[in-house]
């Protein structure tokens, strides 16, 4: 029996799924009507009871985050939706917004009501022009239909394309018109966020999960998932698999099960390593096929659930090459605010390039690990920490492969073999 549990993605296969007509046909905007009739605190309690946790990576309980907003403080409150989906390998919010933008808008209405906010800001990365257009249309339609504009407004803000702006405080700075660099905490956004007002910052998927919870109740949501990781979620599967894409399943599904659903690793090859939650989460290997993909399970196995971006690499892939490409990404995207991330990624790339070219000694691996130790937990925000994850985990599992580069005087792999077009003319 299939383990899929499509809630968010229930109607993605319908041609007009993104329209307000299709959304309403499937009961859309009934949940917000129901929530608006409820006491805001009851809505917060409902979300707390559902066990919904943040889908942006950290897994912080959503209802609890809403509950941090001081009430009766006579200040404006804001909801900010983080749609700056930039983590390498992550492709869940973008398809979600393409296929069903209204579920996010309805989620915004419910969340705004709960936290007593009148404005929601959706911060979307600038590269996804098609999603921007679609979401703009959806917002316009929601206004026309009277769902928005009656006490709750939604503003779409298009970012300029910076990984750091996915960090919630950098996102707030960017939204305010400053350079996106993370802010000092405290004060936390719940106390002084956007324009120094109490602000909830949630991931797209977290907010989009709320309408179904309101419609079907906390118990229904509680019924899916594992003990501490409730509900369903979108896993984005990419890389060397037969059938990549988004798979919505209850939390706790394993990669083995997802691979079964997706037709397995590409034909004729076998799994070498994979990321459970994007490139910032430590790598897994084929040992970890049966790790339950929930917050606790992945953590217990030494990584993080992150954004549930399952990037699959088969045995044709050079792990050094893959790690170097990720590290180049971190170097390019380091905002420059703090020393460890800024200077560390600059240095890491140079060492990894040498290693890929077979230049260096085994002592360089020790240096690399020591350097990662000096960056991990020393940087201003979590992005610096994340930059070290692929390096430390790859050396842990594939130390021999690094050494092979040195003894081989270069990369022992043929990079063409790892490409999709490899063997096309064979």
């Amino acid at each position: 029996m299939t383990k899929l549990a499509p809630v968010l993605s229930a109607h993605w296969d319908e041609k007009d799924s993104f329209t307000i007509a299709a959304y309403t046909r499937h009961g859309g905007y009934k949940a917000s009507a129901k929530a608006l009739a409820m006491d805001p605190d009851a809505v917060i309690q409902l979300v707390k009871d559902s066990g919904l946790r943040g889908r942006g990576g950290a897994g912080f309980p959503t209802g609890m985050k809403w509950g941090f907003i001081p009430q009766g403080d006579e200040k404006d409150h804001y909801l900010v939706v983080n749609a700056d989906e930039s983590e390498p390998g992550t492709c869940k919010d973008t398809p979600l917004l393409m296929a069903n933008p209204h579920v996010l808008i309805e989620g915004c209405i419910i969340a705004c009501h709960a936290i007593r906010a009148k404005h929601a800001f959706i911060y979307i990365r600038g590269e996804v022009t098609h999603v921007v257009r679609r979401l703009n249309q959806a917002i316009e339609d929601a206004y026309k239909a009277g769902h928005l504009g009656k006490g709750i407004d939604v503003v779409l803000h298009v970012g300029a394309g910076a990984y750091i702006c996915g960090e919630e405080t950098a996102l707030l700075d960017s939204l305010e018109g400053f350079r996106g660099q993370p802010r000092l905490r405290p004060p936390f956004p719940a106390i002084a966020g956007l324009y120094a007002r109490p602000t909830v910052v949630n991931n797209v998927e977290s907010i989009a999960s709320v309408p179904a919870i309101v419609a079907n109740g906390a118990e229904w949501y509680q019924g899916m998932g594992t003990e501490k990781s409730k509900g369903t979620t979108l896993y984005s599967l990419s890389g060397h698999v037969t059938n990549p894409g988004q798979f919505e399943a209850p939390l706790g599904i394993t990669l083995r099960e997802i691979l079964e659903l997706s037709g397995g690793v590409r034909a004729g090859h076998k799994l070498k390593f994979w990321t459970p939650g994007g490139s910032s989460t430590p790598l897994f290997t084929d040992e970890h096929l049966d790790v339950p993909l929930d917050y606790e399970g992945v953590s217990a196995a030494g990584s993080m659930l992150g954004t549930k971006a399952l990037q699959i690499f088969d045995e044709t892939t050079c792990v050094v090459r893959a790690v170097l490409r990720w590290t180049e990404f971190y170097k390019h995207e380091s905002c420059g605010k703090c020393t460890p991330c800024r200077e560390g990624t600059w240095w890491l790339v140079q060492i990894l390039r040498d290693l890929e070219n077979g230049v260096g000694t085994e002592a360089d691996l020790a240096k690399l690990l020591d350097l990662c130790d000096n960056i991990m937990g020393r940087s201003f925000c979590a992005l610096g920490d994340g930059a070290t994850s692929p390096i430390t985990s790859s050396i842990k599992y594939f130390r021999d492969e690094y050494i092979a580069h040195l003894t081989n005087g270069g990369c022992p792999f043929d990079p063409v073999k790892s490409t999709l077009f490899s063997g096309a003319n064979a």
């Binding site: 910076a162 750091i164 350079r179 000092l184 170097k331 390019h332 995207e333 380091s334 905002c335 420059g336 605010k337 703090c338 020393t339 460890p340 800024r342 200077e343 560390g344 990624t345 600059w346 240095w347 140079q350 060492i351 240096k367 020591d370 350097l371 130790d373 000096n374 960056i375 937990g377 020393r378 940087s379 201003f380």
Partner: protein
């Protein structure tokens, strides 16, 4: 454990006790861990941290291990961002291996992209990066890769150069500009290791405070154009000093190598300038070493030419020219308190007159009464700005005329939205930055606006010296102060004016604020001075002295540190001097030495000791920074001159003068009453006429800024400011030339259309091409004609 302790100045401050490296320390709530450690003498390395800037936590050099209530943070924390909490235990690099490694790691990373060009870097030898790399870093680097490089240097302004490859991106400079100076013209650009400090291309970095960014740069990334590559810190001899450029009273440090001042830095005085100063104070010191300094006495011979003479000859010539003559004293506002005291004593004993005035500028008798009744002995301070509920600026532009007062107001505006109101004709850049209320008045019509201000006893009125340029304005200020209980502080532009006032260098007051008209006061002073009596009739004011020199009612004048071009009618001043016997005490040739009969060269500020009283009345003492100067301070020369005249004033040294001033103390008798003067109001205008409004900018043609081309590069452009309405009538837009003229002369300047009273035109008083007082011979509120040139 939390305890409270009485703080005598404010309410009780809650103290929090924390344990750092096993030692307990109690600090006020809100203190950052890094500062609590300092109290124990534990130095945590840091770069971005600065006690006067908001914490940023960017450099990560100050990481320490922290636990609270037995729960440890999972990773080391930046001690510059975390305030102490009860039951906090901190382990620095001294007791935590994790913190120690974290700090070493960050130091190594900071040096990855740092060029290590210390041997040619200005900062080498006094560099926080160098020092902390020695204390916290590894001897050898493990980095074998390629460092980032940039074109070097980039000119941030004509004064400040940036070597980007040296920068550790601590953001001290950008935060200073934004948070302290309010000039956010520099910011960080780009990202990652290519992040760099940059300027906004369309708006030059014209800050009056830019030098502070050089001083707080923890590496050699920002350097001063004037000092760059000039010296090594260990070759410099540093002397604590005070700034002579304005009445703010900055604490300073003067660095000298082989008898020559190479740079001056802001000193550290929390009560006054905190750790800042302005660019003029920092970079205008070459006038001291200018080639045209006077080094030898000069006597005008029978041929009418000044010729070098020996000191005994010159003193004898001066004494014989003054002896038995009706003589007066004019001393500029640049004199130290001790020198001003010397002039005062010289006038009253050697010349037997009260004809002395330190106000070498546009003045009134109303001002002299105001100074005697309200200013001398008054004690309004910077602290009063800190606690004020409302600051009112009258005839005073703090950013231009007393920059540290501006910084202090700005600090309170930023911290607690202090209300600022400016009674002025033109909205200035400074008042705009202070988010001040602009009470727009026509020049001459200020009094009515002042009268209506709703102040309380917690308010403070800051009155500039230009308030004297409107008849009745000081009377209105006094009335407002009396009515509301608001404090009044008088802030002159020049460093020596308050000291000269207290030292009695004015015709109606003896030292210590003693009224000349009070017999008991005269007896007081006469007793200390050992003379039978002192002249009893109040002396002439500056303008009366000038008139008397012209009319022949005075025969001679001793004049020191006065520029006739600063006065309302400079032609008349020069004419008066030409008619009289003039003894000039000066540091460099000037319009006065040109007509003087005897010229006596005196020491400049770095060559002598002494003190100023800043606007608060706070003594700012300094020592001679240059040891081997042969130049003498004014009072030693005056003392020799008095001896020669047989009327000894017994002031051989500065110390002697200081001791005598302090033994005199302040007058405890009745103050002079202030006689209210009625306001006249603005002059009437018609057609193309406008009322003149003007002040001196911080950076202009001032004689003490001579030879500082880099400094002059950031001076604000000379413009003529008119209102949009007048611009429309004249058909003028920004940049079009305007001609401002009267019967005396004309000046032409580019127009700037801004928020100014429709009846007025504003021009800078002493900037390039606009020496208003000379060109137009016009003062504040005078009628001029403004047309398109």
């Amino acid at each position: 454990m939390t305890t409270t302790q009485e703080n005598p100045t404010t309410q009780a401050v809650e103290l929090i006790t924390v344990v750092i490296d096993g030692f307990e320390v109690s600090v006020p709530k809100g203190t950052l861990v890094i500062r609590a450690a300092e109290k124990l003498g534990i130095q945590i390395p840091r770069f971005c941290d600065h006690p006067l800037l908001d914490p940023v936590g960017a450099c990560r050099q100050c990481l320490v291990d922290i636990e609270i209530n037995g729960r440890a943070f999972p990773k080391p924390q930046a001690s510059c961002t975390i305030p102490v909490e009860p039951n906090m235990i901190v382990k620095t690099q001294l007791t935590s291996a994790v913190a120690e490694k974290a700090q070493r790691g960050v130091m190594e990373l900071l040096l990855v992209n740092h060029p290590l060009d210390c041997p040619v870097c200005d900062k080498g030898g006094e560099c926080p990066l160098q020092n902390q790399a020695m204390s916290t870093g590894n001897g050898e680097t493990r980095f074998e890769g390629v460092k980032r490089t940039f074109e070097k240097p980039v000119a941030i302004s004509s004064q400040v150069l940036l070597d980007r490859e040296r920068c550790v991106l601590c953001a001290r400079c950008t935060r200073f500009s934004d948070q302290i100076a309010g000039d956010p013209f520099i910011t960080l650009n780009e990202r990652g290791a290519l992040q760099q400090v940059g300027i906004y291309e369309n708006q030059p970095f014209e800050s009056y405070f830019s030098g502070n960014t050089v001083q707080i740069c923890p590496v050699g990334a920002l350097t001063g154009a004037t000092y760059r590559f000039r010296a090594r810190p260990f070759d410099l001899v540093s002397t604590p000093s005070a700034c002579e450029h304005c009445a703010s009273g900055c604490d300073m440090r003067t660095d000298v190598r082989r008898g020559k001042t190479l740079r001056r830095l802001a000193g550290d005085d929390a009560a006054v300038n905190e750790e800042w100063n302005c660019d003029k104070g920092r970079w205008a010191f070459k006038y001291v070493t200018a080639v045209d300094r006077l080094t030898t006495p000069l006597i005008r011979g029978a041929d009418g030419v000044l010729a070098p003479a020996s000191w005994p000859e010159a003193i004898a010539a001066a004494a014989s020219g003054l002896k038995g003559k009706r003589a007066a004293v004019l001393v500029g506002g640049r004199a130290t308190t001790e020198d001003a005291y010397g002039y005062n004593k010289f006038a009253r004993i050697a010349l037997g007159t009260n004809d002395i005035d330190f106000r070498a500028r546009v003045t009134t008798d109303e001002e002299r009464d105001f100074l005697a009744a309200k200013v001398v002995g008054s004690t309004t301070t910077y602290r009063d700005i800190d606690i004020a509920d409302h600051v009112v600026l009258v005839g005073f532009e703090p950013e231009e005329e007393s920059p540290i007062v501006f910084l202090r107001i700005n600090k309170q505006v930023r911290k607690r939205a202090l209300k600022v109101s400016a009674v002025a004709t033109k909205l200035s850049i400074g008042v705009e930055k202070l988010k001040g209320e602009f009470i727009k008045v026509a020049p001459g019509a200020e009094s009515a606006a002042v009268a209506g201000l709703p102040l309380t006893a917690k308010s403070i009125i800051l009155v500039g010296e230009r308030a004297s340029e409107t008849i009745g304005l000081l009377s209105a200020v006094v009335a407002l102060g009396d009515k509301s209980g608001a404090k009044i502080a008088w802030i002159p532009r020049r460093a020596g004016e308050r000291g000269a006032l207290e030292a009695g260098a004015i015709g109606n007051l003896l030292p210590g604020g003693r009224p000349v008209s009070d017999a008991a006061a005269r007896v007081d002073i006469a007793a200390v001075w050992g003379v039978p009596s002192l002249p009893a009739s109040p002396g002439r004011t500056t303008s009366e002295i000038v008139s008397a020199l012209n009319s022949g009612d005075l025969d001679a004048v001793v004049i020191g540190g006065v520029d006739p071009l600063d006065m309302a009618n400079s032609a008349q001043v020069l004419a008066g001097l030409k008619k009289s016997f003039v003894v000039s005490l000066e540091i460099a040739p000037s319009a006065v030495t040109d007509v003087a009969d005897v010229v006596l060269p005196v020491a400049a500020i770095t060559e002598k000791s002494g003190s100023f009283l800043n606007w608060e009345g706070r003594p700012r003492a300094f020592d001679s920074a240059v040891a081997d100067s042969l130049n003498r301070s004014d009072l030693r020369i005056l003392s020799a001159l008095a001896d020669q005249m047989g009327e000894s004033i017994m002031l051989g040294t500065v110390t002697q003068a200081a001791r005598e001033i302090s033994s005199l103390g302040k007058w405890d008798g009745a103050r002079a009453n202030f006689a209210t003067v009625s306001a006249i109001g603005a002059n009437k205008i018609s057609g193309n006429e406008a009322l003149l409004n003007s002040w001196r900018r911080l950076l202009d043609l001032g004689t003490m800024q001579k030879g500082e081309a880099n400094l002059a590069g950031t001076a604000r452009k000379a413009v003529a400011v008119i209102s949009p309405k007048r611009a429309e009538i004249l058909g003028v837009k920004d940049g079009d030339m305007l001609r401002v003229s009267n019967a005396h002369g004309a000046i032409s300047l580019p127009a700037l259309v801004e928020d100014i009273h429709d009846d007025a035109v504003w021009v800078p008083r002493n900037s390039f091409g606009t020496q208003t007082l000379i060109s137009l011979n016009a003062v504040h509120g005078d009628v001029v004609t403004v047309v398109k040139a």
